[in-house]
Symmetry: C2
Subunit: 184 residues, 2 copies
DNA sequence: ATGAATGCAAAGGTTTTGCACCCCC
DNA sequence: GGGGGTGCAAAACCTTTGCATTCAT
């Protein structure tokens, strides 16, 4: 059984923080933008995607919408509506919260973000829809969210669904676990 | 690869309902109590479990708590706090909602119920903790919740977690799919 | 000029909390 | 009689909506 089939990504890149301290917000960890240049590139690409969608659906351009997108790309990997509001308030206090709530569905519809698993408090977690499907593993100690992908599980799900007479559309799979940070 | 490793249980037992009609509430389907005698047996067993917990934690007996438990066992397989409130209101209108919200954590702590996957509207779904772990497959058409268990996926999760340096504690796995009811 | 998009504030729906009272041990 | 448990109502919390206004096309 090949180990190469696993892949993992730490959403939180700041590995220096002590793991034992519980955080108030998952997002405190996921806020570290990994690479400014990469983020800018991505923002540029996604802005294009947004514009395409806006044109296609005969919507109108809006500065607020682009500000929101910028904050998402630069600061958030996994975020709730409230996280986003809070961050947006720091960079762009002029954008109202109703606008945020009204635009999240637009970003989802344009496949720029997608709804992920619910966070620890039960709120919808959004994340960038980068095209690469992954599932989540959340550390119960440090609350960081990691991503994993395992082809064997994916395949098995399809098999199970099929055997049971279902056509699978999507799934959410979260493992709550303890990372070994503490014991290292 | 043996097929016998799959198991499935329909939470909703009323198979006569037309599948095409979307429901307002998941619970409308999961409300069909399968067998009165079995439910009473279970209630008796769980009441004992509750009493043990109450004694152990030096809490006190309460009639409301037992009423709530009775409604859970008799009417609910998968339910949100609000579902429970609504049903409770019919059988025991004298029990206040604060009491329900305050007791749900007690039932969870005593391992009588557990938090399940979030429902379609994002609310926490509780379910009886019957000791048999299972995951869920939800039909996007008829909204019924089915339970499945696949040992291969379970094992694989442990392997993945272990390889990545995590000690898994629990997980939630929901497949959103379309059942073949319509096309039959 | 038309209708999308916005900010604000008010309303909505769900869960939690404060408080006085009740009841179990 | 001490402290958990309760009901009620108020508050807290997050999200949606109404409305007048602004802005993009």
């Amino acid at each position: 059984m090949s180990q190469a089939r696993f892949s993992i990504t730490a959403t939180a890149l700041d590995q220096r923080l002590p793991c034992g301290r519980p955080l108030q917000k998952i997002s405190e960890y996921s806020s570290c933008a990994p690479d400014r240049r990469a983020a800018d590139d991505l923002l540029h690409r996604l802005t294009g995607k947004l514009n395409d969608f806006v044109r296609e659906k005969k919507l109108k351009k809006s500065e607020s919408r682009e500000k929101i997108l910028a904050v998402i790309v630069r600061e958030a990997r996994h975020f709730t509506a409230l996280d986003l509001l809070e961050r947006l308030g720091k960079s762009y206090p002029d954008v109202g919260k109703a606008t945020v709530y009204r635009n999240l569905p637009v970003f989802v519809a344009s496949r720029i973000i997608k709804e992920g698993p619910p966070d620890v408090d039960g709120h919808v977690l959004y994340e960038l829809a980068d095209g690469h499907h992954h599932d989540h593993i959340v550390c119960l100690d440090c609350r960081r969210i990691f991503e994993f992908h395992d082809e064997a599980i994916e395949k098995r799900q399809e098999l199970v669904s099929d055997q049971l007479g279902f056509v699978p559309r999507e799934h959410r799979h979260i493992i709550y676990a303890k990372c070994s940070y503490r014991s290292r």
